[in-house]
Subunit: 438 residues, 2 copies
């Protein structure tokens, strides 16, 4: 297939053109707003009844129990192919090892004699994970969310995922959930799942933080509950990759990465940035060749319509553009990949060298695949162990400590016209001074 | 002053009554929605002109330059009392020491032979801090936000704060900003400041994350820009303290802490939880006595109307209630404070023992005072060094690494019907195998 008409090469774009190339499609929330607001309100008021009605309406399933039973989970074990089970275990081990290494070192500092400040990671006691159904069973996302929740020590790990019309949840999802330590699974999909975990129903317990991907309805439902003070992992948009490559890169590798991102959905975006126009042409050719073999061809062609090949004169210009774009996934397939990595300011997750394909991180190398999109990488981290804990600070102050620090507190509190704040120090200083005289 | 009518004692409340006692006042955003939406839209479209118009309208100031000049910052040095400067330096040192100790240890794990995953903290390049004007100059908040931003390595630390009608910013705020390393200060207040930092204007640069407290207009403006994908520190509500105390606690200390929280604003809340009814009565008496001396008396009386004294039968019941309430500030003034601290699940910042008053942490001990309110402590951390960085993951995979990990990626990708994801592994495995045969 010849993609020369689809994949145009932009050469050395100027500032304005770069800004245009960084623009993401903006989801039109107006189209889903009324529907989602209605769903959230109904779930809030009617609880399980609303969830059963939506399961009937959207999934075609008549449900009595919303909760997946132990028998269903046990049965999944036999329904999953043994090679997939092995693959899930390998992925589990790698994801576990990398996230366990993220455990926080306790912090304790005596900032002044007698004034000891410390910081501890305390798990969020109940978290809610949303796993979409739809075209494909996203068992990889189950691992990516539940493994760090378990390592963090979350006591209750709730999961919602839609069932099929006969009321079954995909067995690979159930198998991954058990492997990773999910505690409760419910047959609830879409915006109604987010509402159920956000507010709680008779069956689904209220969760303090909601994680997971989803369609426009799910994403908007997460924004709605976030406005009501419930924590969410991050804002979500279409998936994207930016590949930085020089003439050393294998065009087949680059093309496969380019296409793999494009296959996520019709609004996904792949960008190649290179100092080699020859590579850009070769990648376009390889994309055309590889595309012939792929079942997801039609989906990929839609994404390619808003994907770009861009050339720059220097590595510096490439990395500047990469930071301006702030990609969810950044592949640096370059002879000096490690050196260029030092210049990364804005990215979700970075893949270095010829062999680190994005799909390694999507599935099994150990890093998380829930990452900031739509330039949110300027300020947001991907999901990591921190996402499942609160870092709580503690302080103890001795009698000597308050005697030393107290006057500073008094002066600052009075400077801010907060006299009772000053008083809280004063009554203690007076007490300590009096005790000393005795 | 006798507060027996105001401060009623709840004895051993049951589950329903506990839930009622945990309820926070819900801010009515409808009252400010239209105003804030209009302000945000105008700032977005009209930029500096809108900011100058609002400065005229809300602050009574006619401004040419929105940016605070170097001369104004220099002049602040002389205008601030030397005792306040000394106090600010002491607070600076303590806050710096505690936040510097929070620097992340780099994480690197070889999850499988040839598969190396790492995680690095990369500063958010431009952050925006909002410092309210109004009744009191919150120079302490300048330190709490700018010091960790500086330690994190944020290149640009933008601050907005309203000026008075003659166009001046409070000198203590300017002094604290210089001390802490703020790079640019603008005379912009209210919702318009949040919009300016969120979208950028001709003068104010666009910031990737916005921090800081404010009134209902500011808080709602932050929620609005957050919906558009701009990061904010956390949702904000009225300030609150929960004090856990046993019979060993000094009632004067407890009363001073109770009142100091109540002085923050008319919707602030103070809660005392104790196993000693005698202490509860003594605290009520001491509140009445101390209140007489305080200039902020009228404000405090408003808050006390929705503050509570509660008794429980056991330490366990007290800590259960504390975790249910999930307070912004938790004071454990108890003979076994350190032991009870182990049971803390939900809290913003914790103060242990008789001498650790909340105002120590509000100003100068070293911990941060920007903390989650309204039970958000169930899922949110207070501002800390993490708030100013992104934790970006990196991975390198060797030829041997992809040969080992590749089949796992292929199996999982095919299981999720993502054939191009599998292909990205396949083309590399084939290449490696071919190279080996040669």
């Amino acid at each position: 297939m010849n993609l020369n008409d689809v994949l145009k090469i932009y050469k050395n774009p100027g500032a304005d053109e770069q800004e245009m190339l960084c623009r993401r499609g903006i989801a039109n929330v107006d189209a889903v707003r009324a529907t989602v607001e209605d769903i959230v309100e109904r779930v809030r008021c009617e609880g399980d009844d609303a969830l059963r009605n939506y399961a009937q309406r959207f999934d075609g399933a008549t449900l009595t129990d919303l909760k997946v039973s132990q028998e269903e989970i046990d049965a999944a074990e036999n329904a999953v192919d043994s090679s997939l089970k092995e693959a899930l275990k390998t992925a589990y081990n790698n994801i576990y090892a990398f996230h366990a290494a993220q455990r926080m070192h306790p912090v304790q500092v005596e900032t002044m004699p007698g004034v000891v400040c410390s910081q501890r990671a305390v798990p969020i006691s109940r978290v809610g994970l949303y796993i979409p159904g739809g075209n494909a069973p996203l068992f990889s996302t189950v691992l990516m969310l539940a493994i760090p929740a378990k390592i963090a020590g979350c006591r209750s790990i709730v999961m919602c995922t839609p069932c099929d019309h006969s009321g079954h949840v995909n067995p690979a999802i159930l198998y991954a959930a058990r492997l990773a330590g999910v505690t409760d699974i419910y047959k609830v999909g879409g915006a109604q799942a987010v509402a159920a975990m956000g507010f709680g129903t008779q069956s689904v317990p209220q969760c303090y933080k909601i994680f997971g991907p989803g369609n426009r309805f799910v994403v908007f439902a997460k924004m709605l509950v976030a406005q009501m003070g419930i924590a969410i992992d991050m804002p979500a948009g279409p998936s994207e990759v930016l590949i930085v490559a020089d003439e050393s890169a294998n065009p087949t590798f680059v093309a496969a990465d380019f296409l793999s991102q494009a296959e996520h959905g019709p609004d996904s975006q792949s960008i190649l940035v290179t100092t080699s126009e020859e590579l850009a042409r070769a990648v376009a050719n390889e994309c055309g060749r590889l595309l012939e073999t792929l079942p997801s061809r039609d989906m990929i062609l839609k994404s390619l319509a808003h994907s770009h090949l861009i050339t720059f004169d220097s590595d510096e210009a490439m990395m500047n553009f990469a930071n301006l774009y702030a990609p969810e996934h950044l592949i640096i397939n370059h002879s000096r990949a490690e050196q260029l990595a030092e210049a990364v300011v804005n990215a979700g997750s970075v893949f270095l060298g010829p062999y680190a394909c994005e799909s390694a991180g999507d599935y099994a190398s150990g890093t998380n695949h829930t990452l900031p999109t739509a330039a949110c990488a300027t300020a947001f981290s991907g999901v990591n162990l921190d996402s499942f804990v609160k870092k709580i600070t503690f302080q103890t102050i001795s009698a000597d400590g308050i005697a030393t620090l107290g006057p500073t507190i008094e002066t600052m509190a009075n400077g801010e016209s907060l006299s009772a704040h000053a008083l809280a120090a004063t009554v203690r200083i007076d007490y300590v001074n009096k005790s000393r005289k005795q």
